[in-house]
Amino acid sequence: MCEQIIPADQDPGAAWAGVVNYIDRQLCGPLRRLRETYRAGIAAVEESSGRLHAKSFADLNSQKQIEFLRGMETGTASGEAWKKIASAEFFGLVIDHTMQGFYGDPRHGGNRDGVSWKMLGLPYPPIRGRQKYDLTKL
């Protein structure tokens, strides 16, 4: 799902950048209040996908996955499970967290090797003056 939100192209996508790792870590930390939301949301995705395609979401081809997510986004995704949490709401949450994991600081478990910053041409290290001096040569 995250990989469809930020797919790999000439630059790596959400999966390679470790966005799922980011979300997992935050659900054990600052976002732990959202654990139930994620459980219900993921269960609903699976139920809904199973009923539509008789397959798990992860096993759908890319085209079908995108269609499915558009359905979630517009709230037309079908399924009993969406009564617990609205599909658009859950998808909005995942989009936001995916952006955080991909574009945010690597210390939180995503943005592996600062991959999004490289993609955007944002110089690293983040503070001018830091790490500019090779202390081994003093």
């Binding site: 935050q26 600052p30 955080q100 574009y103 600081d105 999004s116 955007l120 041409g121 983040p126």
Partner: protein
């Protein structure tokens, strides 16, 4: 054991309280400052784009912490929500020594003359408690100057033809222009506007024993790595402590202001860092907790003589909560505009602060502080999906090719936009929490629309291929936020205000409120320099009328 009696207790060591503490301590009064947060050094702030005072999806770096300090937010349909301090509805301001001034963007605006006379200038506005300030720009001018020189402001507003007169130029020159500045300045001039260098509470050259800005991208929302940003935590508060007359107590949560049978204030009850209830007695009390928390403390200070809370005889405490209706536009360019030169914001115009067609007031427009990648990831752009390949391509193409122009619209005070104390919800210490409810005035929406269109025009003139105006200001939303103000209005009439022109609570002669709460209107500007200047002014009067301990001033 009872704490030693002091002359003054200041609740809150932010923009207002820091200045007051210094002025009183230098004048020889013994002062205790109760600060709910900690004192951070520049090294305590990780440069974390998901956890800072501006983008706090993973929490606030300078508090208050998300678990122990809830508030209740009432939405436009009457639904009650428990709000955490990193949610938008919370209207957070940092909880630390320096308050918001540790991590702010540090724009240092003087209000204009008309900003103090909004009612006289525009007449009454339906649905608003719009009023003139009881003081004028001229009353505040010497204290603006004092704030600019003592705390330290760089910039150059000599090209701002709309500014009010100043006797003395700013102490420091502006930082050299960044690329956005170089693009926007000629564009504004071609449009007949009057661009100038934003005054900033930031060292552009070494000043007051601290270094100059090193121009990194981690500015607004962060504490300064080289301590070049000037807040009360690195200026007036250290000065206050150096006098030996001032004690700063950290991690202290004020519970209530105590009064005696004569209706005078006797001190403050608070929980210290070990969560023990303490009483600090004092000759006078200054409340400087910013608009939400100051109102909450007064409302929580109930007694037989003050059954509705202190200063609240006529139900004005907590009313008129305002901030700024932020608006603007983003311009997308065909070439790089990003040069990684902080702080980013550098050029502004005041052409639209007053005299605009169809609405009252207006606001400044300025380019924005540097946007970190996540801040652009959620930008709503018509025709670009929020997710998928197209969004990624948009980020790749435009992160370095976008300019934001933003501005704070001067808000019309609304009586029902208010802070109360919640009847049920209590914080970690058992103190009733702030309950925020109400809405904005329609005028703010009109102003936001107008300013956004002007921002678009400016960006187009600067060569933007495409512009997107922001339209998030709606009547149903409640204002407040970091620029929170208005909840303890200053005025001459005790029936329609909370404090007098010297910030003394009308019916309690040794209780003061000195922070943004007293602002009658909040200007079309970031309010911090006005809070500081007014704190200098109120302290000046307080010191002059001080007749010693137990004296009736």
């Amino acid at each position: 054991m009872a704490l030693k009696h002091v002359n003054a207790v200041v609740v809150g060591g932010g923009a207002g309280g820091g200045v007051v503490a210094k002025e009183l301590a230098v004048a020889g009064l013994s002062v205790v400052v109760l600060e709910r947060g900690k004192w951070y050094t520049p090294f305590d702030d990780r440069k974390d784009d998901l956890r800072n005072q501006r983008t706090c999806v993973l929490g606030n770096s300078f508090g208050p912490d998300e678990e122990r300090n809830p508030r209740v937010f009432v939405d436009s349909r009457g639904g009650e929500h428990l709000s955490r301090s990193n949610e938008y509805t919370y209207s957070n301001n940092a909880a630390c020594v320096g308050g918001g001034t540790l991590s702010y963007g540090a724009m240092a605006w003087r209000f204009l003359e008309k900003d103090f006379r909004m009612r006289s200038t525009y007449g009454p506005v339906e649905g608003s408690t719009l009023e003139d300030w009881p003081i004028s720009y001229a009353d505040l001018e010497p204290f603006y100057e004092k704030a600019e020189w003592e705390i330290g402001v760089s910039g150059d507003d000599s090209n701002n033809v709309f500014r009010a007169t100043r006797r003395r130029a700013l102490p420091m020159p502006p930082l050299p222009p960044n690329r956005e500045h170089q693009m926007l300045k000629p564009a504004a001039q071609r449009l007949g506007l009057h661009p100038f260098d934003i005054p900033m509470l930031r060292n552009s050259v070494p000043y007051n024993g601290r270094a100059a800005c090193m121009r990194c991208r981690w500015c607004c929302g962060f504490s300064c790595e080289v301590d070049a940003k000037c807040g009360t935590q690195n200026t007036v508060i250290p000065t206050a402590l150096k006098t030996g007359n001032c004690e700063l107590r950290l991690d202290c949560i004020a519970k209530e202001v105590l009064t005696n049978a004569q209706g005078r204030v006797t001190g403050v009850a608070y929980f210290d860092g070990d969560e023990r209830l303490q009483e600090q007695s004092a000759d006078l009390v200054v409340v400087s907790g910013s608009a939400v928390e100051s109102a909450r403390l007064l409302l929580n200070s109930k007694s037989r003589l003050f059954p509705n809370g202190l200063g609240n005889r006529y139900d004005w405490v907590g009313r008129n909560l305002q901030g700024h209706a932020y608006t603007g536009a983003v311009g997308l360019f065909g070439h790089d505009t990003y040069d990684d030169l902080g702080p980013g914001a550098s050029i502004a115009i005041c052409d639209y602060n007053h005299g605009n067609p169809g609405f009252v007031g207006g606001g400044l427009l300025a380019n924005e502080f540097i946007r970190l990648p996540y801040q652009l990831a959620g930008l709503g752009v018509p025709g670009v999906r929020r997710w998928g390949a197209a969004r990624k391509e948009f980020m790749r193409q435009y992160y370095r090719r976008s300019i934001y122009i933003m501005g704070p619209v001067q808000e019309m005070p609304v009586f029902d936009a208010r802070v109360e104390v919640d009847p049920r919800v209590k914080d970690h210490w058992g103190i009733p929490v702030a309950r925020l409810s109400g809405h904005r005035h329609e005028n703010d929406v009109a102003g936001a629309k107008f300013l956004a269109s002007k921002a678009e025009a400016w960006l187009k003139e600067a060569g933007a291929e495409r512009t997107v105006a922001f339209d998030w200001v709606s009547r149903d939303s409640l204002s407040g936020g970091q620029h929170q103000a208005g909840t303890c209005r200053m005025g001459d009439d005790p029936k329609t205000s909370v404090v007098d022109r010297y910030c003394r609570v009308h019916d309690v002669d040794n209780l003061y409120v000195i922070d943004g709460s007293v602002h009658v209107t909040n200007g079309g500007f970031n309010p911090v320099l006005t809070i500081m200047a007014n704190a200098y002014r109120a302290s000046d009067n307080l010191v002059k009328s001080w007749k010693g301990t137990h004296g009736r001033s």
